[in-house]
Point group: C2
Chain length 198, copies 2
């Protein structure tokens, strides 16, 4: 059994090295990414969306050319364990998700995925075995089209200017001050408060 | 010259493999991550913030234990080329940014960083050489404290339930329907429209 170009064992080593642990979500995620890749026409350039911040972004980053930092993966915090791979010019692609209707007879997967048991009460070995035995059988796969407005969005282009408040460079399109100094994240990080105090 | 545990050459191979190209932002980012790590007390568990979606998330993911999928890296779309590494319990840490005041005498870096020249008019070899010669000399490094409210935020805990609209699992705390079906992302991805049409 392989996950993309890796044996299952090599994939789990890679996951441990990148993600820090062989989390169940990365194993399911590996099957999800490969199921999605298998539905795409060969040779196309594709982008990726994950609909959760949890685990899936790392499976996509390890198994596709799409990363957060190169802009080909965009991570939405929708709370759904699902991903889309889609042609970056047409938006046509595939969405893969865990189908709760396919978890019958897989009690360890169900208890983990639906958080029916506390982590300390789960059996990690059984969970891993069930996930591997299930492979793509617990997944739903559907054709999708990603909206043109979403495809066209993403990275800000255009001129860079210096923020009169913090003195750092930012996209001029954001307004007369950078988004941080404009208060958008003022309650999130107090980096700037510390800097002003110096 | 090393970037973390890697020779500069090995780091650039790693960047090429993960990010797809040896982007200037990944080389600067490598120096930024290492400058930040060098300011942290040894042995602490730290989390990371990048203040841009561009390039820096990949430098952090390659050079620290923090990834998007494991939740230790959070990516803010502030448009500033800066990152923070901070103690995950106290919030105390360090913020590293490119200081525009330190770009004099480094014309290729300045033209790239402030987008003063179109990419096709830049000399990529000269740019890389200037970035490597500069190392950490173009950076600002400041102590920061990350807000407790931000540290406590992040991953949604609590029960999972099934969305009555799409049938998929989502965090019950999000409300009676999942965030996607609740219209929050309705104009972004039309995955759900496609599914409803089937």
């Amino acid at each position: 059994m392989n996950i993309g170009p890796y044996s299952l064992e090599d994939y789990m080593h890679l996951v441990k090295s990148f993600h820090g642990s062989v989390a169940p979500g990365l194993i399911v995620g590996g099957f999800m990414v490969e199921a999605a890749k298998g539905e795409l026409p060969p040779g196309i350039l594709y982008d990726a969306i994950t609909e959760t911040v949890v685990c899936l972004p790392d499976a996509v980053q390890l198994l596709t050319p799409c990363t957060v930092g190169n802009g080909w993966l965009r991570v939405l915090d929708l709370g759904r364990f699902a991903l889309c791979l889609y042609d970056k010019t047409t938006g046509r692609g595939v969405r893969v998700f865990v189908d709760p209707g396919k978890l019958d007879g897989r009690p360890a997967v169900r208890d983990w995925f639906l958080r029916l048991k506390a982590k300390r009460d789960q059996d990690p070995v059984r969970l891993r075995d069930e996930i591997i035995a299930a492979g793509t059988d617990i997944l739903g796969v559907r054709p999708v089209v990603v909206a043109r407005s979403f495809i066209a969005g993403g990275r800000k282009k255009g001129p860079i200017t210096l923020c009169p408040a913090c003195g750092e460079a930012y996209p001029a399109a954001d307004g007369p001050r950078c988004l941080a100094c404009d208060g958008n994240y003022g309650d999130i990080i107090i980096c700037d408060l510390v800097r002003k105090r110096e």
